[in-house]
Symmetry: C2
Subunit: 240 residues, 2 copies
């Protein structure tokens, strides 16, 4: 991260997060891209802090960005807020062109709706059949994102062109999980270079950025965390 960003001068940016969360990690990556300093607070999701519960009483979820003590919730909305509140700090995360902004927002919403939804269902589905169907949905979502990358990047390295932006960090938060998938799901590779070559190369490129290094979790801890989630989900289903 940058040494002396606007957030540091303002002195009061804090992220309430959790290392495996794609939503937390996209926020941290955006802060890094913009060169904004912040305090990273790791929440215990099994025992959430009073600060988290008070900051996001509606959803009680990470990430929360605290700016001068005021909470901003929902990761994509935090990205918007960073551009709105720190227009002079580093590059804008969102594209400047209105239409490009709309398209980037569309695909980020798609990541959260379709890709994330399919990955959760593929992980926690009650039956093997349900998990297989969800895995097919995840592949379809990645195919669509491969198409968006081909169309949006104009042959350059990132969704936003030469430099990473909103959609790059929106999807970039998922790279840890995508890379860990073969460990989680018995060898199924979601980021398959044969199927989604552009996305696979993009993920390599994005993960090598200073903004992403140290944020993207390694496959092994993600796979272990996934097992905990699966066990918890199975136990909840068995007791209901």
């Amino acid at each position: 991260m940058a040494a002396a960003g606007a957030g540091g001068e303002d002195g009061q940016l804090k992220v309430l997060g959790a290392w495996p969360s794609p939503f937390v990690n996209r926020v941290r990556m955006a802060l890094h891209l913009k060169g904004l300093e912040y305090e990273n607070v790791e929440e215990d999701l099994a025992d959430k802090s009073e600060l988290l519960l008070a900051s996001n009483p509606v959803h009680k979820k990470v990430p929360v960005l605290l700016h001068g003590g005021k909470p901003v919730c929902e990761s994509l909305l935090i990205l918007e807020y960073l551009d709105d509140a720190f227009p002079g700090a580093g590059p804008a995360v969102l594209p400047a062109d209105p239409y490009d902004r709309a398209v980037a927002r569309f695909w980020a919403a798609y990541v959260d709706g379709k890709l994330h939804g399919a990955m959760v269902a593929a992980l926690l589905g009650a039956t093997e059949e349900a998990r297989a169907a969800a895995t097919a949905d995840a592949f379809a979502a990645l195919d669509a994102l491969e198409g968006a990358l081909a169309e949006r990047s104009g042959g350059k390295g990132f969704f936003a062109g030469d430099a990473p932006g909103y959609l790059d960090v929106a999807l970039g938060g998922f790279i840890g999980w995508l890379r860990a998938w073969d460990r989680i799901a018995g060898g199924i590779k979601l980021l398959d270079a044969g199927r989604v070559p552009l996305l696979d190369a993009w993920a390599e490129r994005f993960a090598a950025l200073d903004a992403a290094k140290g944020v993207i979790p390694d496959p092994e801890p993600i796979a272990e965390f996934a097992k905990v989630l699966q066990a918890r989900s199975a136990a909840a289903a068995a007791s209901s």
Copy 2:
């Protein structure tokens, strides 16, 4: 609507919509608030046009805003686009202050996630028990929005203060369904003046705006449309 807005001068704004859709209606209300002229194209959702399928190939849903032929999808993102693409046309829909923008976006996402989700489940739930639980969720969502209105409006008439804005149109699109609920659900009133007096008064005030008149559907046709949805949903469940 305004007689000669920027959309008219640009000559090329078109909404692909459907009269019962809260999402379509919020877009039309925002266009009216901003004084942007547009062509309203009513889609037959049982037989979608080639233009709709080509404009929103990913979700195949209304609304789509076409601007000079280029499609913008997802209603909340269309609201953002209108401010971005027509900064000089009428009042901005979103608040100017970064934090107020974040809060308005948060509650609009809440409307789409929690309130809409609960209303759909209350309408189409497979069992009476499921529908009752979803109705309780809808009441809880409206309670939360009552709190947000108390906090955000500062005692003024709208979520955004003296004049309606982003969150007003985001929720305003649902007024037709909220008002029709007692006909849909055997007398259950969602906009209950005893329970959510501020929201009830807000809905009256919003519905009386020129921007909303002619867009909010009457209770009777909504209730009939709801019956069609319920019959279709029951038939699909019976055949699966």
